[in-house]
């Protein structure tokens, strides 16, 4: 007998061991997310995928699907909270979409479009963060890091290198690089690594590729992140 749970009033089938996110994606339902990626161990830090499970808020990417659960994702309440959380991500770093070369291909921006975010709502923190341009092929602008740890996980789980770590605590969290100098050129990261390509914002950029596709013709300029994400996430192995 197939097991199911209810997601926004629809019966979603699932298998033992699947999370709410995995079951939802398999059934063709988008739940906003940034730190989740089907190829890597769920992390649960961004909290965009928070859903109401039988009255309790849980991260869909880590919480197991269970028979008879009632899950609410697409409610006004959930989406308002998601919008606020996204705004928090914008104000804690320095995100200048109009001048960022990732604009139009940025998942953070794509989620903000999806959630109809029109302003930053909160006070900007304007942290002082350096840029690491030491690597010949790759650049890191720490101003745009949202601590989703996707690069950390991709480097460990797929590249087998452990190039990144997230350090510090509270608002002083920072992405660090595993090398003696602490700089990227001294690390094992290469342009072909999965970690180089996984960043959902413009924090990790590949040099000499900017603006090859003009702004206006990019991914989220023409497709919503829900479409793009569903296509990519459900095609993952």
């Amino acid at each position: 007998m197939t097991q199911t749970f209810m997601l926004d009033g629809l019966a979603i089938p699932f298998e033992d061991g699947q999370t709410i996110m995995e079951a939802a994606i398999a059934a063709g339902h988008y739940i906003p997310h940034l730190c989740y990626h089907p190829d890597f161990t769920p992390y649960g830090s961004c909290k965009l995928c928070n859903v109401n499970v039988n009255g309790k808020i849980c991260t869909a990417c880590t919480f197991p699907a269970m028979e008879g659960q009632t899950v609410i994702s697409e409610s006004e309440e959930q989406n308002t909270d998601r919008q606020r959380i996204t705004q928090m991500l914008f104000v804690e770093g320095n995100h200048f979409c109009p001048s960022c070369e990732k604009s139009g291909n940025c998942q953070l921006q794509g989620v903000a479009y999806h959630l109809k975010m029109t302003d930053d709502h909160f006070n900007h923190q304007f942290p002082h963060r350096e840029i690491d341009a030491s690597h010949p092929d790759i650049l890191i602008d720490f101003n745009r890091c949202i601590f989703c740890a996707l690069c950390v996980r991709a480097s460990q789980e797929e590249d087998g290198k452990d190039v990144f770590a997230i350090s510090g605590r509270g608002i002083n969290k920072r992405l660090i690089i595993n090398s003696d100098s602490g700089q990227l050129h001294d690390s094992e990261l290469t342009v072909n690594d999965r970690a180089t390509h996984i960043c959902p914002t413009g924090a990790i950029l590949i040099k000499h590729t900017a603006y090859q596709v003009p702004i206006g013709d990019r991914q989220y300029d023409h497709h919503s992140i829900s479409e793009v994400s569903m296509e990519q996430d459900s095609s993952a192995p």
Binding site: K47, D81, E92, F147, D162, A165, G170, N178, D180
Partner: protein, 592 residues
Amino acid sequence: MNDFIVQLLEANGYRKTRLLAILRAIQATYFHIPKEAITLLSRLLGLPVSHIISVVDFYSFFHSTPRGQYDILFSDSITDHMQDKQNLMNYFSHQCQVGIGQVRKDGRVSLDNTACTGMCDQGPAALINGYAVPRLDRPKIDLIAKLIEQELPLAEWPETIFQVDDLIWKTGLLLNSRLEPGESLLAADARGLNATLNEIDQSKLRGRGGAGFKTALKWRLCASEPEQERFVVCNADEGEPGTFKDRVLLNRYADWLIEGMTLASLLIKSQQGFLYLRGEYLHLFEPLQAKLAERRRNGLLGDNILGKGWSFDIEICLGAGSYICGEESALIESLEGRSGIARNRPPYPVTEGYLNKPTIVDNVETFIAAAHIAIQGGNWFAAQGTEQSSGTKILSISGDTPQPGIYEVPFGTPISAILEDCLAEDVLGVQVGGPSGTFISNREFHRRLAFEDLPSGGSFIIFNRQRDILEIVRNFTHFFADESCGFCTPCRVGTILLSEQIDKLYDGYGSVGDIVALQELGHLLKTNSHCGLGQTAANPMLNTLARYPAIYQSKIKFPHFGPGFNLDEALQAARKIAHRDDSEAHLSQSGD
């Protein structure tokens, strides 16, 4: 340095899980964690450099740049402030010629703040190279300043400087009990282990840390896991501002605690226990080690306990300044030598805890209660308290009372009776259960201490009518922002935004909109945060806003208009550059 680190690693068996202990030793020797040390540790322990840096960065007692040979941290709890902490800190700063947050040029002394040190009954307090110094006053500071100038090692300082008292004002069911070493283990053996677990079940004992999970159920769940290796962990990391009862229990009743942990090891069939001791209680580390050694000598710990073939031992692990490590899964991460970041649940620690093996994590008071229940039976305990909260609760009472200290009261006791016990007068409100608990006003003193009404891990702070509610809330809110691990977005960013919003109101720049924003932000943190810290960080504000709306309203300077910044203050930098501070260089703004 090479030899020092190699010896240190040998003493710790080259175990990665001992990283905190290793870093503590390096910090104590070099006054910081030098870069070379990190490189060496990385090579010798087989850990990425970034992993070690992230641990150093996470804990507030580790530093990547040198602190003074005498590193002074003033406790920043609200009760310390009520005991004139700020003036004394300024006095210290002046006497030792060292700025707050700075290291003196000669490298001899450094001064900074730290979160509540668990000395609220004898504050204001500080830590000197990690060792607690309670009851600070000017003569004591003068003496300390003199000793620092003489460069006298801490070990040669007068013991009175570090004298910590056990102030016990009221005892009850537990503290009136007696327990001969080994007595509860023999009682459990005579009754049968399963029957003993049934007695604990019958006692209706719930975890004393605050969450109140049924102890017998937790232990049974852990014991029933198929995995054979299981762990007993004592959470002695009470970090809730205003809590210090574990400090007294660990000092006076260590035998009872170790007995309780050993009992638990029999019941869940574990051979290894850990006592996670908060870093602020460094002064208890050696006495506790001595107690463990004594029990090993007496056949109460180690192999073949009491000649019955039981095997169990306990290792003490010291924290390094992080409130979040009191959360059980963050504590486990810390025990494993990592940053204290709460894990995703499920799985819960009873199924996947320390090293992903079944683990019970319980509070000091819980283990002590279990040991006594094993002797006296479940009904003895259940006879006191209420339907859902059996037995008694040991409270740490501080703030505006002439008798701060430890009080053991039966669950169900009204708050008014507790206030009478400690002779508190003219009370405005009480923070029950610490900042993460509930702030109640003087109209609610009929309410009862119980899981059904007001649960508490032990912190009970009394405020009289002279206290400023917003100052209290501000202190608590900044505490949470400082202690947020930063893992999840709502807590990492939300606690900072909350602090800024409250500061704005406190400084007199609030509008009506700011109060609405506070409520909205508080709700967002409560519902969306990853763990208890973020979920409760807005409690002080939400609790007091609901009870004292007029106080919040009275802080509003701009009813309809909320300036984003203070125009005059923003010109400060320009005035400094222009070397002028005359009236023409100042601007007023609408509403001034």
